[in-house]
Symmetry: C2
Subunit: 236 residues, 2 copies
């Protein structure tokens, strides 16, 4: 018997499943922005009761993918403006995380970041985009983990699934992963060398590049998606 995951018990709460599926549907635009997300309808559509749906909506609300207006839940969707906003916030918090991680670097170790980087290198060589994206996020997560700030990690985890789905969707594009990899190497090595201000600048440049690619990919993906269609119902 081989148990790959030791931490989480068999645990796959139904609410988590609904959260993930609904999140993907909203980001991908399967649920049009502005659509009213009524609990009974969603519950029937996912073939569960209202409880897990309620949990999912609460969670997605804290992720910013669902907004509540007059006690009703509506899909928020992701416009290119939202992506710009997300990257601006990420720059602010990840910069802080990197600085804090650096401050604690004495007793902390960059092992996780190095592991992620190795995985990224292998994925890049094999052009395995999904694996690369996964390792990419793990790399950045390691900064938050190393920062020692639980709340900073919480904020990141709040938006990390959105970035994950975005990366996954936009990675249909045929991009050369080389520059991205080099950028990550530069950030980590500069930080490990103790030149944290320089590393922050590298990070900002990296995020700017990622944002630009993301915005282009997204606007190419759904040219017709408006900022806020008046209303709508979920397709099926």
């Amino acid at each position: 018997m081989t148990w790959s995951s030791l931490e989480p018990v068999p645990a796959t709460a139904l609410g988590d499943v609904i959260t993930e599926r609904l999140r993907r549907m909203i980001i991908a635009g399967d649920v049009p922005a502005g659509a009213h997300l009524a609990e009974p309808r969603l519950a029937e559509s996912f073939d569960v009761s209202r409880g897990p749906v309620r949990d999912a909506l609460r969670r997605l609300e804290s992720e910013g993918l669902v907004v509540v207006r007059r006690r009703k839940m509506f899909a928020a969707g992701l416009t290119t403006d939202d992506v710009v906003e997300l990257y601006a916030i990420r720059e602010a918090v990840e910069t802080l995380a990197l600085r804090l991680a650096h401050d604690r670097a004495a007793d902390a170790d960059w092992g996780e970041a190095l592991d992620a980087l190795a995985t990224m290198r292998r994925a890049a060589d094999a052009a395995r985009y999904a694996d690369y994206a996964h390792a990419d996020l793990a790399f950045h997560t390691s900064f938050y983990a190393l920062s020692g700030s639980r709340r900073l990690l919480d904020i990141w985890r709040q938006y990390e699934p959105t970035f994950a789905v975005l990366l996954e969707i936009t990675n249909a594009e045929d991009v050369d992963l080389g520059p991205s990899l080099a950028s990550h190497v530069a950030i980590l090595e500069t930080a490990r060398a103790g030149r944290v201000d320089e590393a922050v600048v590298e990070l900002q440049g990296h995020l700017l590049g990622a944002r630009t690619r993301m915005v282009h990919a997204l606007s190419r993906l759904d040219t017709g998606r408006a900022a806020t269609p008046p209303d709508g119902e979920i397709p099926a």
Copy 2:
């Protein structure tokens, strides 16, 4: 008939009430950090069913006041380290908010901030600490609102109640509100004059001062509160 609040319908969801009461109890230390927050026990204690309690726990989890470990909820409490952490995060996001607000200042107006400032001045003159704290938070909220970033406002609203309770608790102290008021005036006037870099520096200095006072007040308040007592049950 006089209706003071026009926006929110009679709306006072039971879950919101539980959230507020539980939040206050955790921050004040009435619920010891590390205590297991079992739904049935809390539900009976608040004389409601598990539903609203569940909502409250989910909300407080996103605020960082409750942590989930092996599917169970535990009170996180607030140590002085947490306060330092909170102010670090706040500096990062509020700085961004101030910059974004400044960028949009052409079509935006600082009316809300000015109103809050006027209220603060009156409260300071009358030494009404609670009113001052309230207006203080409204002042800062206006920056996030003016930033035009919904998610930035969301992050602030996530932690704003914690700051509110902290201010309320620590304001038992007899402090001169003059310097705080002057600090707020300086931030706003500098920003309105378009010298945003200078305003950011003012803001950072202001937050540092606030943090210092908060840490002192808190450590004076509960000298005996440890970082993580092993476990415990809620008192009553």
